[in-house]
Amino acid sequence: MNKKENSSNGLSRRQFLGTSAAAGMTIAPGISLMSVAEAKPLDTAVSSDQRWGMLIDTNKCAKGCTSCVDACNTENGLNTGDEQLSRQGQKAQWIRKVDLRDKTTGHEVSLPLMCQHCENPPCVDVCPTGASFKREDGVVLVDKHTCIGCRYCMMACPYKARSFIHEELLNQVEDVPRGKGTVESCTLCVHRIDEDTNKQRDPACAEACNTAGHKAMIFGDLKDANSELSKQLKKHSSKAIRADLKLNPGVRYRGI
């Protein structure tokens, strides 16, 4: 392209395109050719214009580090000592560290595993009451108001991502209601991502991973081509765990 090809108002074609892409091409008030991907205001419903997802780089994830797990427990009020009678394996766990070892080469990887927020979630398919559902923006949740605690979803989930609460709880965090007799799992910290446009925050696990300096977890909007997440996904090869099930998870991994 000829670099001298400047328009009359002093903007080069490239500059002009750059500005309009950032601002969204507005052709008339209220009508735009392209909406800018951004967080929603507090009073609007979530929409399928977004799909929240995550990219986890197992090469950066440190073996033995549990920053993400600890942050998740604190953020969501898990394991606060309420579950006294439950065995360790019965206690709520929304995110866990998994260590893998290649038997042939001896290569080891460590990765965090949680609800993969599938596009076609089996937990939603099997739920008899409609309590297990997928939000418009791709977040898979349990509506505990309708959950009867049958645990079909726990059996259907290939990632073993869900927990059941066996005991009466007292120390819930106000943003995260949890109670006996219901199933729960990672919510991608909906209470954080639903915040008003400028106050929106990453899920606690991704934030903690960044704070710990590993930067192995990138959270963002899969449908926004300009998000850091989409850029990284485009640039690097990544995999869905159990891609053979064709669930199209919102969480993808590098280095496995």
Partner: protein, 132 residues
């Protein structure tokens, strides 16, 4: 006509006597909220608060709408009752705002099986941390 008048008189007597009975039961003492006024006039809230909370519940759960007017969290924060030590009382305590009326009306609620019954807002670790 005479018969009707007699019926009416009897009905009045019955009604009057029932009010006397009601007056004998001590009215619940409802603790005041901490804000200047409630999100709706008190009379309306007394009758319809459950509808408002229910509506907001589904909007929050499924649509991610977290506006403050009928937010359950906000109810709890404003209607907190503190004990002698200055600590907020939980729903296990009969002085809890919701209990003050629900015990009187004998209406059992299960909100607090899952929801926190005392305010426990924590400091946000970092604001606007995400680049989406």
């Amino acid at each position: 006509m005479k018969y009707l008048r007699m019926m009416l008189a009897m009905l009045t007597v019955v009604l009057l006597s029932s009010t006397t009975v009601l007056a004998d039961v001590p009215s619940p003492t409802i603790p005041k909220g901490n804000a200047e006024k409630c999100v709706l006039p008190t009379d309306e809230m007394r009758v319809n608060h459950m509808e408002k909370i229910l509506h907001q519940r589904d909007k929050t759960m499924h649509d991610g709408v977290r506006t403050e007017q009928f937010s359950f969290k906000k109810c709890i924060n404003c209607h907190v009752v503190k004990d002698e030590a200055g600590k907020a009382v939980s729903y296990k305590d009969e002085r809890h705002f919701c209990n003050s009326c629900h015990t009187y009306a004998a209406v059992k609620i299960d909100c607090f099986d899952c929801h926190a019954s005392t305010p426990n807002s924590r400091k946000k670790t970092s604001a606007a941390g995400g680049k989406h």
